[in-house]
Assembly symmetry: none
Homo-oligomer: 209 residues x 4
DNA sequence: AATGAATGAGATTTCATTCAT
DNA sequence: CATGAATGAAATCTCATTCAT
């Protein structure tokens, strides 16, 4: 018997379960993950999982909400570091590009995207969770920065939203193939090369005259 | 009583099963798809499925092989249409871009990518199937064409493989978000806009002086 | 709604399953017995059987452990009744012989031996279960008694272990044929005759001069 | 296409199947043996097995008939060697005993008894096959010899049938335990010891005054 | 006569979920 | 509130048997 329980104990269990669910879903996939397994990983009884989250699907959703927020946080932190560099746009963009790429190729990010992709047909609202909480916020933030740079005369961008999307695409578009869908890690040098190459093309297209 | 049987009958059943498997896996996902369901869709007994394919995992693999080949065929046909346009590079690229986008946003292509993505952790060799049979062949073909255009002085490309990858990325990089992972169809006008926008950026970066 | 549950309830179910398994395995043989059938006989859900015993093979093992113990108990009770008879050795031996024969020809004993015999190739440890828990204990106990009678001058036995084995053999050696492997019951008179005949031969060999 | 077929080919196939069935049933048990496996072992198609033997149960029966005959032959050959030894009854009996024991502990004999024991509940007529074709014939032959020896004054036996049964019992009664139901081979020395010990007890009981 | 192919029925096992304590 | 226990429904896979060639 715990000496003190109360709201704190319950909350602790809730997040232990969420962490466990994230881990197990990432490792095994939604269908292959057993609620037993999640409960064991969290150190609680299976019924406790149900009393907190209702059912397995909802557990997935909540886990994806948390992971999407976590991923968004990391990405936004990077994008918000993209301030007016006073001259070295290329350096600033390469720096942001590389750090975004590191976020993107993180194990947990791959797992998040894989889970959304895998289950979107069964549970279409998962797309909204991921896109709304992570992808579109990051894109919007990036568009804001690009606009700022454009206003500052460092870039020449007509449509910042599209430019932001294309910046991201150039950066991450080949990653499925290169990492075999997140199954294989890339050497740091390769990451840096990809970032440089993406920024290079981006600047050819959007550098001021 | 079947009208005709013999060796042809067996082959017919095999492909009926493969078609059914593709359909059902696409509709329900690998784990949620029952072999019962596939057998019913194919109009054969469950045991026949097993006698042809051994187990469910192998059925998935064979289905993905077939779908990868089919997708590659369609994409290659488009890419191979990209000949020296004698002046109107933009028009030629936009045409190819749009048609590639149509391939890419096809229901079956989405299903293929979703299945690979979803199951790559459990069955890592599926990545090889998809990448080796489809993605990398298409990229290679596109690189070949870009090189030819570069040689012809229509483009100014140093590294055709990377340029091809970037062309594809600009084209398809935003599609997860726009189609909600293939869950939502896009109006033709939007597709055309995306193609135009991708080509525009690509040409800004790679058009000759 | 059950009138009482709690820890007692689980134990009750466990033994209900064990009893049912014993019954069904005896009736149908291991391979032909369905876990469905056992669950139905026990009045529980199939999954409950699995949650208690893990798999079918283990269920067989546990059932055989219980049956071996039960059989050993009955046999040992008989053998331990063989005290110094003060003169009438023949009578005492015939009495024990007949009662051992009754144990041996019991339906459940036949079923036990049949199951062990049938499955020993697949699950070699079953031999250990049966021999270690039943056969060898009974033989040892019988050897002890024969030694005591020998010490008391009622028998003339050099090697009690072998003598005990031979006593058992004379008694049960012909039973496969007579009962058609336990498929046919014997009249009490025949049993008594066999016991008498076995004891007769035994005493011819081991009675004191 | 075989160069010549005809009745001889069919007969060859029939016995190939029977041999294969015997092998596979012995190795795996009746229920675990697949008709596929038997057909493969025999080098024929599964349907051929059915066209020759009708169903699996009948295949078992025919295999057991053949094996029972084979076992009987071997045992009878031994027993029939038990002629009037002119003085050395013990030596003659020990010789027969050892050779019978060798028959009895043969792999194939164990397999035969195991199959009969295992399946007798499902197919009660198997007991008749085994008992009628092997066990009782051997016992009868042995009774004949014992009677002859008795007439010759070498033994003193009132009831030869019972004596024969007891001779066999003394010999084989402990073999289940010693060989763990045929799962473990015995060293030749142990076999010889058992034979000697059985004959010793037998002669104590049945040697002439 | 022999076979390759197909199948219906059933086997074991798993799992998300509920309920009484 | 947390849990151990129980379960209904379904999943994958197997196998004896038949049929058309």
């Amino acid at each position: 018997m715990p000496v003190t329980t109360g709201p704190r104990g319950r909350i602790d269990k809730r997040s232990a379960i969420l962490v466990a669910a994230t881990t197990v879903f990432a490792r095994a996939g939604y269908a292959q993950a057993g609620v037993d397994e999640i409960a064991a990983e969290a150190g609680v009884a299976k019924a406790t999982v149900y009393s907190h989250f209702g059912d397995k699907q909802n557990l997935l959703r909540e886990a994806l909400v948390a992971e999407s927020d976590r991923a968004a946080e990391a990405n936004l932190a990077v994008v918000e570091g993209l301030l007016d560099p006073g001259g070295d746009v290329r350096g600033a963009l390469e720096d942001v590009a590389l750090r975004l790429l590191e976020c993107f190729t993180d194990e947990r990010s791959w797992a998040l995207r894989r889970l959304v992709t895998a289950e979107v047909v069964q549970f279409p609202d998962l797309a909204d969770v991921f896109l709304g909480r992570a992808a579109s916020r990051v894109n919007q933030a990036l568009a804001d920065r690009l606009l700022a740079l454009s206003v500052a005369g460092e870039l020449r961008i007509a449509d910042p939203a599209t430019a932001a999307e294309q910046f991201g695409s150039l950066l991450t578009g080949g990653m499925d193939a290169r990492t075999r869908f997140g199954t294989r890690a890339l050497p740091a040098a390769e990451l840096a090369g990809i970032a440089r190459s993406a920024v290079d093309t981006f600047l050819r297209a959007f550098a001021p005259v």
